[in-house]
């Protein structure tokens, strides 16, 4: 059935479709619709549990507990709440807990511009918690993709046994589009491998631990083994999610790299430029980015932040890129054209 659906709504439905049974969250603009939908869903489906947490620290930890108890769990938040969840995300990586954190980004830092869209949590999604870890981060750019990539995020979480970050923004979260959920090609939902709490004698801990869960807080070898095992697993899982979109343009010498809502806004420029859009933001699509960028003299990275992904792209391509930041929530074609004109020094049609 075709119907009008909002991005936030599609993410919630995608979570239910993936088999989510637990939501904990704290109201925050522009993600609150997901929390309200979860509350309503729990009201009608007693098996689905909903907690309105006292703060995002609590919500971030509650989804870890729920996951260990056997439920597929998730939360939804925005920048300030995402910051409060970072410690729990690091814990989830160390203790190897599958769960999903949706971040509907708004203009930051601080309280910023709560209703305005931005893409300023790219680095935070990858490096926000302390320590070295290997998170999966996905960023769709349409309502239909919000549905699909929520399912993908849940699957990647189960396969990698780690917290996955699903990015959105105030624009995409509140975007209404006509979709037919039945026509969206979806992967099969991945089932939980690990037995729930109450079945064994295991210890789940945020300390560095051996395979039996025994804390090993002064043993470098155990720590090294953990990094090798976890990063190998994440690499293996990432090979199943080579998700990107590339629109070559042989008449152009310039490739624009953008993602999420910005890539959607840039579509009319595809006749003048080649366009590359990563959907799997992390782990980086290193080979794909290199291959697609090869034929273009100029690389532009356009994003609603001050060059967070551009810095990463430069390290991947080992050459300078043009940075076009879109600030203040004004993500539109006019701002994009003006930014390109400034970066490339020529008129953009």
């Amino acid at each position: 059935m075709r119907r009008l659906v909002q991005g936030n709504e599609a993410m919630f439905f995608g979570a239910v479709r993936a088999g989510a049974e637990f939501f904990a969250g704290y109201p925050i603009t522009p993600s609150s619709e997901i929390l309200m939908l979860a509350a309503e869903h729990a009201n009608r489906h007693p098996k689905f549990k909903f907690v309105q947490s006292e703060d995002e620290i609590s919500a971030g930890n509650a989804i870890m507990g729920a996951s260990l108890a056997g439920a597929k769990s998730f939360t939804a938040t925005s920048g300030p709440g995402f910051s409060l969840m970072q410690e729990a995300i690091g814990y989830g990586h160390q203790a190897e807990i599958p769960t999903v954190i949706i971040n509907v980004q708004r203009v930051a830092p601080g309280t910023g511009m709560p209703t305005m869209p931005a893409q300023q949590d790219i680095m935070q999604s990858r490096f926000g918690s302390s320590g070295d870890y290997y998170p999966f981060v996905f960023y769709p750019n349409s309502v239909a993709e919000c549905y699909k990539y929520t399912m993908v995020s849940f699957n990647a979480a189960e396969e990698s046994e780690s917290p996955v970050v699903l990015l959105s923004d105030a624009y995409l979260g509140h975007l209404n589009e006509v979709v037919d959920f039945h026509c969206i090609k979806l992967p099969r939902a991945v089932r939980r491998k690990r037995a729930p709490l109450g079945t064994g004698q295991r210890l789940f801990t945020g300390l560095v631990h051996d395979e039996q869960g025994r804390p090993r807080t002064a043993d470098a070898e155990t720590c090294k083994r953990w990094h090798v095992r976890v990063s190998d697993l994440h690499t293996k899982v990432s090979n199943r999610y080579i998700d990107f979109e590339f629109q070559p343009n042989l008449s152009s010498d310039t490739l624009i790299i953008s993602y999420g809502i910005v890539s959607r806004v840039l579509q009319p420029l595809s006749s003048q430029f080649a366009l590359f859009r990563p959907i799997r933001m992390f782990p980086l699509l290193t080979d794909e980015i290199r291959r697609c960028a090869n034929d273009y003299r100029n690389i532009v990275v356009m994003e609603a932040n001050d060059g967070q992904y551009a810095t990463i792209i430069e390290s991947v391509l080992k050459r300078d890129v043009h940075r076009v930041p879109l600030f203040g929530g004004r993500i539109n074609l006019a701002s994009a054209r003006a930014g390109l004109r400034k970066a490339l020094g020529r008129m953009i049609e």
């Binding site: 919500a59 507990g65 814990y91 109450g198 079945t199």
Partner: protein, 244 residues
């Protein structure tokens, strides 16, 4: 046998000789044995600090959470698996300071979990700094001039809801400690056991106690049982207060 519930192969524990935590762990294991709680029906959630290591010594699935985050984790587990008995074991710093906001709200929501709070007046593991329960005037490694502030009133914090179950006891009063744990486990709703226990190495010696034994004697001489039916416990009273 209660010892069957413990991972004795991991002994000796990480705790200092004379620490009160072993006595709390023993009484918890005894109550679990009496109530037929084991790895099929029970989970223990602990936080950070010396008390945080308790979960790892029981032969059941346990979760060693982040500092202060036992309660959100425990509550979520109880929501997902209401048939599991969920026990939280943590220290006063973990529960009442860094996790204080969660404590108020989980008590308010009256989630059916039991919290054992090892209240030793200080942050023991990090070297004996003042905590939320440190008595005013106490010299600690972070209050060289004596602690300036009144300790937090855990009893009245737990009484935030219309229903509550609060027990106060000490590690000296072993039979009473066991009774408090047992009645809290059987209570349908949120229950909190505040257990005064000795940290001889990072608190007691600074206060002039020569041994853990002296601290226990001090608890014996200081704490008296509250009269039956008391609605509020006095400063030096042990007992259980509840409202259904």
């Amino acid at each position: 046998m209660f010892k069957d519930l413990l991972k004795l192969e991991r002994f000796p524990t990480t705790w200092c000789p004379g620490c009160g935590l072993g006595m709390i762990m023993t009484q918890l294991a005894k109550v679990m044995d009496e109530l037929h709680l084991d790895h099929t029906n029970t989970t223990i959630i602990s936080g950070i600090g010396c008390t945080g290591r308790i979960a790892g010594y029981f032969k059941l699935d346990g979760v060693h959470t982040l500092h202060g985050r036992t309660l959100p984790v425990a509550e979520a587990i109880k929501f997902v698996r209401p048939e599991l008995n969920v026990i939280v074991a943590s220290g006063d710093g973990d529960l009442a300071s860094i996790g204080g906001n969660h404590l108020i709200h989980v008590a308010r929501r009256n989630t059916n979990i039991t919290v054992l709070c090892n209240d030793n007046d200080v942050y023991g593991l990090t070297g004996g700094q003042a905590g939320p329960t440190t008595p005013v005037g106490t010299i600690t490694s972070s209050t060289p001039g004596g602690c300036k502030y009144e300790p937090i009133d855990l009893q009245n914090l737990i009484k935030v809801g219309t229903q509550y179950h609060y027990a106060k006891t000490t590690v000296y009063h072993q039979a009473h400690l066991r009774k408090c744990i047992r009645e809290s486990m059987l209570w349908q709703g949120f229950s909190f056991v505040n257990i005064t226990g000795q940290c001889i190495e990072n608190n007691g010696k600074r206060l002039g106690f020569k041994s853990a034994y002296e601290m226990l004697v001090h608890y014996r001489n200081t704490y008296k049982k509250a009269p039956d039916g008391a609605e509020t416990l006095g400063d030096n009273e042990i007992g259980i207060i509840r409202r259904e």
